[in-house]
């Protein structure tokens, strides 16, 4: 539920023998760059590929949401339930199983009676969008901070380190609950209509503010170890500029970690965003949102459990796929892992 859990040692089960084997196998066969090798390994990993496909599907759904709903002939805003009398006088779907039928494949939402499938598709779009922004921002910030913290060391390192300590000792959930309204209030004059993008931005900001430290620390640690390596020393002695050393010597050596971490970070951010909406400080109706569906569903679980089924299952699949993908990517980038 929080990015913090992702800072942990990316479990590399390196083996004596595997290590010896690497020593023994000596130089890699010529003509294949490490990336190519990684790619080959990845393609060999069936689960990885399957998950990649699933993930791709989710992303496609998010991107093509309008097309999908167009093809499906529904949209996430029309109140089918109320207009077509699909709800009883208590606002519950008349038809069994949450009103699933030919017209509404996943049923209709209790209360408003919007189409669940359309909602879900657009909900994924929203949540994924937010999570993506957060992830990108966090990764960029984390890497930058980590790089310079690790490379410059000394006072910079100390100060920045304490700062990220500060950030880390914030009770995250509380922070989100307390400050999302604040940030919104900063953008919108009280009482004015609140454009959706502002919520979006606010959510991205709050999550980003507490989201970058984990990766930052990881990168710092790596850079610290890299910094003492001969070739970096050499580069420095040869008077290369800091920027150049960072760009040419350090970055190439951490990109795999960064890649792995970001793949692991994204689902975490998605669930976090959903969590916020669930607590009522995230996106707001009518904006379709994954977490909002959980919020509603949690209200209706007594009378319409079906409503929770689709968003729930979708999210589990999504996160599972992403985690597995993360593992596969790691394995591919880092062959010593013997599973």
């Amino acid at each position: 539920m929080t990015s913090a859990r992702e800072t942990t040692t990316t479990g590399s089960d390196n083996e004596t023998d595997a290590a010896l084997a690497r020593a023994a196998s000596g130089t890699v066969p010529v003509g294949r760059s490490p990336r190519q090798l990684a790619w080959i390994r990845f393609r060999r990993d069936r689960t990885g590929v399957v998950c990649a496909v699933i993930v791709a599907c989710f992303i496609l759904i998010a991107l093509a949401a309008p097309l999908i709903t167009k093809a499906y002939g529904k949209n996430p805003y029309t109140l089918y339930g109320q207009d077509d009398g699909l709800l009883n006088s208590y606002g519950l779907p008349l038809k069994p199983n949450g009103g699933i039928d030919g017209a509404h494949w996943f049923g209709v939402e209790p209360g408003l009676g919007r189409d669940v499938l359309a909602l879900l598709v657009y909900g994924i779009r929203t949540s994924l969008g937010i999570a993506l922004c957060v992830t990108v921002l966090s990764v960029v910030a984390g890497v930058t901070v980590g790089l310079f913290q690790g490379y410059l060391g000394g006072r910079t390192d100390y100060v920045v380190g304490r700062f990220s300590d500060l950030m880390m000792s914030f009770p995250q959930q509380l922070f989100f609950i307390a400050f999302t309204p604040v940030i919104v209030a900063m953008f919108v004059r009280p009482g004015n209509a609140e454009p959706t993008w502002i919520r979006f931005a606010a959510l991205v900001i709050v999550q980003f503010v507490l989201g970058w430290m984990a990766l930052g620390r990881l990168v710092r640690a790596q850079v610290l170890s890299l910094r003492t390596r001969e070739y970096v020393e050499a580069a420095r002695l040869s008077g290369a500029s800091t920027a150049r050393i960072v760009r040419r010597e350090l970055l190439p050596n951490i990109w795999s970690t960064v890649l792995v971490q970001s793949t692991l970070l994204l689902p975490v951010n998605v669930t976090a965003e959903a969590g916020l909406s669930y607590l009522g400080v995230g996106m707001q109706t009518p904006t379709p949102d994954w977490g909002l569906m959980f919020q509603d569903a949690a209200q209706y679980y007594q009378s319409d459990i079906t409503y929770m089924f689709f968003p729930g299952v979708a999210m589990v699949v999504f996160v599972v796929a992403f985690n597995l993908l993360g593992d596969s990517v790691r394995d591919a980038l880092d062959p010593k892992t013997v599973r």
Binding site: G85, S89, P110, A193
Partner: protein
């Protein structure tokens, strides 16, 4: 904001109310829900049926204790009450929300109170501490009350008229900001705090204001006639306070009891535990049976869990009820349709009428306002809010619990509950309005977001473009309460403080009150109405007055249409099988704990 899903302090304007002689009538017709073929809700309507009990002013004889015994009831046991929110104020002088008042009845007594017959549910206003509901003189300006003999505090100290006077004096103290201000205002005028700073100033109110000729008699001298004083004396603040035990502001979390129970333990927002007060003498109390030895009041029980617990009644929940929290909308269907719940279901009207205010200072043409009235999708809104069990379709400013209620429907809304876009369009054409674009402001909570969607799509059918603005629910009343607010449509609820419309029409329709934070949310300022209000307020015959209020209300709705009433709230919930003698206090819109016993 609705009490049932809002934290108590946001539930302003939802205060206890008393009911005056209103003919018993049933409105189950309205509560038939939207049930069409295969709709379980239709059947559920019976479960959701509510009726209005008639109430009378009691005599001195009615005011004699003890309270009517409940058949088959016996003392002992612990009764549990599940509250959705915390209790903000235990100090009776601070109690205004019906939750605070109904719970307050267990440990505090007033000069008058509501006696509810456990068999018929007939509600009578009687003397509680006082021997009767009060004698008026000087054309209704002066009211005299006599305390019953043998009244004591939880430590045995006798209750005197001086303590009652002290109780009234406390209402002036600077920290008493939450409670009703009727009595203070009647005694000392709008700026009562300037006139007197409360007992801590060392001074006391002169006898010209409150006199205590002997220690059982108390005389109140008002500036103007106030025929409904008996009801004002039933407000929680109209009782004694023992100066020796007065902890000023801290009294709010630890009041000293003169009722059947004393406070054993209080954890704000979590639990209030009430233990029997040995010094309370049932023979002096015509209102309270007080059968259980203990009341365990659990606070902050979230919905839908609260309702679920009452439905499941596992463990001690079998002896549990919810004094003020109605069933969660998501569970009302199960309750309304489940035969197993019938025997323990309470479905009654609350004194609250929910309305959508049309900002008359922005939407000036009443034909436009009427167009909105026609276009308004009453049924869908009801459905979106949980259907008939939550409330019946409203067509009047004054609710069924208030004196003189006549079901009136000037716009035929019950005939066209889903709205009449054609009629609306026509009216708009008459008004020469095209492309009408209005702003609807709502508190940013799930249910109001839902309603916003509903309104948007319904108004669109009438060619009205409804812009919606979500307001952070904590600032909602701040913002819609501003005179120059930028919104055209916003909902509020209003409940009578007692069942006379004089606690409904004047505060909400008197244009001379308009100011930031006032309660004329629609900003209606119709000279005719203002004049009429003054006229009706002068009538001292309450039943006469009631009729006049009703006529005025209908005039306002028909001609000015400043608001769109849409729901008479209902209390609809089940209680545990382990409890008997569960009656309903319609003036407060809550379960009456006084007759409850543990089987």
């Amino acid at each position: 904001m609705r009490l049932r899903n809002s934290t108590a302090r946001t539930a302003r304007a939802r205060c206890g109310a008393a009911l005056l002689a209103a003919t018993a009538l049933t409105l189950s017709a309205c509560s038939a829900g939207g049930g069409t073929g295969g709709d379980t809700g239709g059947g559920g309507a019976d479960g959701a049926k509510a009726s209005v009990q008639s109430v009378t002013l009691g005599t001195a004889a009615d005011s004699v204790g003890p309270a009517t015994a409940v058949a088959g009831a016996h003392k002992g046991g612990t009764a549990y009450d599940l509250e959705q929110n915390g209790i903000n104020h235990l100090d009776p002088a601070q109690a205004y929300i019906n939750q605070e008042q109904i719970i307050g009845q267990l440990f505090s007594r007033q000069l008058t109170n509501y006696r509810i017959d456990p068999r018929t549910g007939k509600t009578t206003l009687v003397g509680d501490l006082a021997t009767d509901t009060g004698e008026s003189s000087d054309g209704g300006r002066t009211w005299t009350y006599h305390l019953k003999p043998g009244l004591t505090w939880q430590d045995g100290t006798p209750i005197t008229s001086a303590q009652v006077k002290y109780g009234f004096e406390r209402l002036y103290a600077s920290f008493e900001t939450a409670g009703p201000q009727y009595v203070q205002t009647w005694l000392s005028g709008q700026d009562f705090r300037k006139a007197y700073q409360g007992p801590y100033s060392g001074k006391s109110l002169p006898d010209s204001v409150i006199a205590t000729p002997d220690n059982r008699t108390i005389v109140l001298h008002f500036l103007a006639p106030h025929p409904d004083t008996p009801y004002a004396m039933a407000l929680s603040g109209s009782g004694p306070v023992l100066p020796a035990k007065d902890t000023e502001a801290k009294y709010d979390s630890a009041p000293f009891s003169d009722g059947p129970y004393e406070i054993a333990d209080y954890q704000p927002g979590k639990q209030l535990l009430l233990r029997r007060n040995p010094h309370w003498d049932p023979r002096t109390d015509p209102v309270r049976d007080a059968y259980p030895d203990e009341w365990d009041i659990e606070l902050g029980i979230a919905q839908p869990g609260l309702t679920e617990r009452l439905m499941q009644q596992a463990g001690h929940d079998k002896d549990a009820l919810a004094l003020v929290a109605p069933a969660d909308p998501t569970q009302t269907p199960l309750i309304a349709t489940g035969a197993q719940y019938r025997s323990r279901l309470v479905s009654q009207y609350q004194p609250f009428v929910d309305v959508f205010n049309i900002n008359t200072s922005r939407v000036k043409d009443e034909r436009v306002r009427q167009a909105l009235m026609y276009a308004f999708p009453m049924r869908q809104v009801q459905t979106a809010l949980g259907g008939a069990p939550q409330g019946d379709l409203a067509t009047d400013l004054i609710g069924p619990t208030v004196a003189g209620f006549q079901a009136a429907d000037p716009f035929g809304k019950l005939a066209e509950p889903n709205g009449d876009p054609a009629k609306a369009k026509e009216l708009l054409k008459q008004a020469g309005v095209t492309h009408l674009k209005l702003t609807y402001a709502y508190a940013d909570e799930a249910r109001w977001q839902t309603v916003a969607r509903t309104l948007q799509s319904a108004f669109a059918k009438a060619g009205i473009d409804l812009q919606t603005t979500a307001i952070d629910s904590t600032s909602y009343y701040t913002l819609v309460g501003k005179v120059n607010n930028p919104y055209d449509l916003y909902r509020t609820g209003w409940g009578a403080d007692w069942p006379s419309a004089s606690t409904v029409i004047p505060p909400t329709m008197d244009g001379r009150l308009i100011a930031d934070g006032d309660t004329d949310y629609a900003h209606l300022n119709d000279p005719y109405v203002n004049a009429a209000i003054d006229r009706v307020e002068k009538i001292t015959d309450l039943s006469q007055q009631a009729v006049q209020w009703q006529q005025l209300a209908q005039y306002i709705l028909k001609n000015d249409t400043p608001v769109i009433p849409y729901e008479y709230d209902k209390y609809f919930n089940v209680h545990g099988d382990g409890l008997g003698g569960v009656t309903y206090n319609s003036p407060l819109g809550a379960i009456n704990p006084n007759t409850v016993y543990v089987k």
